[in-house]
């Protein structure tokens, strides 16, 4: 492996170049705060996958603020934009806190194909293990070629136990076995890796329901947290993903946005937080085991605006 670890800020620096860098440029060029500048900001947001609706709302709010507070200095626009986005992303909870009253807490890791579910399970296993939590993972993607082997390697890397079955066996049965074992042996957290599935495929979504139903036979329903993994490169389709996965499992308890180490701006995060108020728990910033960081709105915005 050639790649080195990137820390949170480094990983996001490209986002900064693309988004804030351009605002700064626009601000520098604009003689005063006018519609032109605000249009530029809207463009930058849209190009960052924020989406037309959210971008329009953000710029509308900015316009109002500019008028209300009679902001004249173009540089003050940045500060206003910063607080605007931070307000949308703020969440009061600690993403790493296991808040169910019984153990194990079960994280059901969901998402469309190739978003980074298995990798994120591997990273999370390490993360929780480092925190001293008794961690187990379950290989419930019995469908994709060598998905179980892939997870088994992550289990080895993170030094946690992995419950696995043969390829092609019933994922719900594996989930049940893992949950029972985790409960019997007093584990704190069970991470369940599931097969990638497009949210529009009804029969595959039914399978998820079944997994959840089976898990609820072992632990109380509130101890099962549905975590949706989104590819940060994804555009507006992410909104549909969140909505349809939520329809199936009842509620998405948290999001993880991967691949933010690329040039994709992850702006979809802002649109999702704004439109669906689903909190963001972690972000993926690379392919290595430590390239997963708890999402923190302030750090995110600070890194964005530094």
């Amino acid at each position: 492996m050639f790649k080195f670890l990137r820390n949170f800020k480094e990983g996001l620096s490209r986002t900064k170049d693309n988004l804030v860098g351009k605002v700064k440029e626009a601000v520098g060029l604009a003689a005063k705060v006018d519609d032109n500048l605000l249009d530029t900001i809207e463009q930058i947001l849209i190009e960052g996958d924020v989406g037309v609706a959210a971008a329009t709302r953000i710029t509308d709010n900015l316009k109002e603020k500019v008028a209300r507070e009679s902001i004249r200095d173009p540089n003050d626009i940045l500060a206003a934009l910063k607080s605007e986005i931070a307000a949308i992303l703020k969440s009061a909870r600690d993403p790493a806190h296991l808040d169910s009253s019984t153990s194990p807490e079960i994280w059901l890791i969901l998402g469309v194909n190739g978003t980074g579910k298995t990798t994120s399970v591997g990273k999370l296993a390490k993360f929780f293990r480092d925190q001293g939590k008794k961690t187990m993972i379950a290989a419930c993607d019995t469908f994709r070629a060598a998905a179980v082997d892939q997870l088994a390697i992550w289990a080895e890397r993170s030094g946690v136990e992995c419950i696995r079955a043969k390829d092609g066996s019933d994922p719900a049965a594996v989930a049940f076995d893992a949950a029972s074992a985790a409960k019997a042996r007093g584990f704190d957290i069970l991470l369940v890796d599931t097969a990638g599935r497009l949210h529009t495929k009804t029969h595959l979504m039914e399978e998820l329901k079944k997994i959840k139903r089976v898990l609820a036979k072992v632990v109380p329903e509130e101890a099962i947290k549905a975590k949706l993994i989104l590819d940060g490169t994804t555009g507006q389709n992410a909104l549909s993903q969140v909505k349809l996965f939520a329809d199936v499992v009842g509620k998405i308890d948290g999001l993880m946005v991967t691949k933010l180490d690329g040039t994709a701006k992850g702006g979809v995060v802002i649109a999702i937080a704004e439109e669906m108020s689903v909190p963001i728990d972690f972000v993926g910033l690379g392919e290595q085991i430590d390239d997963l960081k708890p999402f923190d709105a302030d750090t995110f915005v600070a890194a964005l605006f530094e």
């Binding site: 190009e47 989406g51 389709n237 909104l239």
Partner: protein, 440 residues
């Protein structure tokens, strides 16, 4: 919030309806909606802007020529432009002489490269080519096993030498292919970021070493605005020869296709429409454009229906029906046929006019699942001879399938009715089951 591009465009064009002529003003008004719709479909901001500017020009010109419905005119102009931007004709992958031809598959992490490699291998194996799959991703955990598993599934040889340098893997593989008279070598490279200098250089190295005739960039149909950056970088570094759009089987509008095509000028050659290795289609620019515009994709629909129904099985079924031997087993097979065609809703959406009419009120897939589960819980004897299903059997089947005895009673009653109906049909010609005969 989740209105499709189609609906947006329809709404936009509705505004034009009933207005006598296309003026610059009313077109601009409608195109504002089109712009928004394209952006929501993830077409890149700048690509959208250029597109709208051009349509604006052409639509105004057209208005003076004809006096058909204005919305139709704009639809026509928008559609034509979309097709043009997408590439007008279907361009296929080229396997040139002399063998071995090499295809290098590259792209971002998780875009669908390994799956595509196996799909391509299957495609050319069916054309009687000797194919060698090459596991050139030594980085991602179990990437090699993944390709090996897929190779086994389709009975195609996989070349691997473990965690070696990808350059060495590819060179050795091509050498081997020469010796073994392989027609086609397919290189499955590791996922990488377009900005990862080191890994991009590695691909350029491989290109130099093995001179691939095709360098295919796999792009996820769900990709957002960043598609332009990714495509531009891969194209600049490697001079890609084509693009494959994967995961087109979801509800992404595929705006990334427009963006990628616009920045690279490379043809989009193939479309991935599922996880199965047969889920690969030639990319049809006109169909995608038509689909984006809500004009339906009737051609795809018909083809898909033909492919999924096994002709021989259908004939066998017809014979059985004539002899009045239709059993629950046959019904189960029919359900599988239906399911093979993919999500029913997405199929129906391909038919003009139907997609919208049925929205929200479509076939209940749970119903299919329930019926399936019940039939699965029966013994072979019960499936063939449902009259033996007595009270205790009913309870067992209902329990086993997670349904109620009432559900099962309903199914059995419907089945008997279907049998009756079939008896009444004198010259029954099999064209699939009558639609309302299905118990869901």
């Amino acid at each position: 919030m989740f209105d499709s591009l189609t609906e947006k465009l329809e709404a936009a064009f509705k505004k034009l309806r009933g207005q006598g002529t296309l003026t610059e003003d009313n077109i601009r008004e409608a195109l504002k909606e089109v712009r928004r719709a394209l952006l929501e479909a993830d077409v890149n901001y700048k690509v959208t802007k250029d597109f709208i500017d051009e349509v604006q020009k052409e639509a105004v010109g057209a208005a003076t020529l004809r006096s058909v419905e204005p919305s139709q005119q704009v639809v026509k102009v928008v559609h034509e432009k979309l097709v043009k931007l997408l590439g007008e004709t279907t361009v296929d992958v080229v396997i040139s002489d002399p063998p071995p031809a090499v295809i290098m598959v590259c792209g971002l992490q998780g875009s669908g490269k390994t799956t595509l490699c196996a799909k391509l291998a299957l495609r050319y194996k069916k054309k009687n080519k000797k194919v060698l799959l090459v596991a050139a991703d030594p980085y991602r955990p179990a990437a090699i096993q993944q390709l090996q598993t897929l190779g086994r599934q389709i009975d195609v040889q996989v070349f691997e030498i473990g965690q070696a340098r990808p350059q060495d893997i590819c060179r050795e593989a091509v050498n081997r292919a020469r010796k073994e008279f392989v027609d086609l070598v397919i290189l499955d490279t590791a996922g990488r970021l377009h900005i990862d200098d080191e890994l991009m250089a590695e691909l350029a190295d491989i290109k130099k070493l093995v001179d691939p005739k095709e360098i295919l960039l796999v792009a996820d149909a769900m990709t957002g605005q960043d598609a332009v950056n990714v495509a531009r970088q891969f194209h600049e570094r490697l001079k890609i020869t084509g693009v494959v759009l994967s995961k087109l089987d979801g509800d992404a509008r595929g705006g990334a296709a427009l963006s990628i095509r616009a920045v690279t000028g490379c043809p989009i050659k193939l479309a991935g429409i599922g996880e199965k290795l047969s889920d690969l289609e030639p990319f049809h620019p006109d169909r995608l454009a038509a689909r984006i515009l809500g004009m339906g994709d009737i051609v795809s629909f018909v083809e898909k229906a033909q492919e999924s129904v096994d002709i021989q099985a259908a004939e066998k079924l017809e014979k059985k029906l004539r002899k009045q031997q239709f059993t629950l087993e046959d019904m189960y097979d029919q359900l599988q046929n239906l399911k093979k065609m993919g999500p029913l809703e997405s199929l129906l959406e391909m038919i003009p006019g139907i997609g919208k009419a049925l929205k929200g009120a479509t076939i209940d897939p749970k119903g299919i699942g329930r019926v399936e589960a019940m039939i699965q819980s029966m013994t072979v004897e019960e499936r063939r001879n449902p009259q033996i299903i007595n009270g205790s059997r009913r309870k067992r089947i209902a329990d086993g399938s997670g349904s109620t005895v009432q559900d099962l009673n309903r199914l059995l009653k419907q089945f008997v009715e279907m049998q009756k109906m079939m008896k009444n049909m004198n010259r029954f010609k099999f064209k699939g089951l009558p639609k309302d005969a299905l118990p869901f």
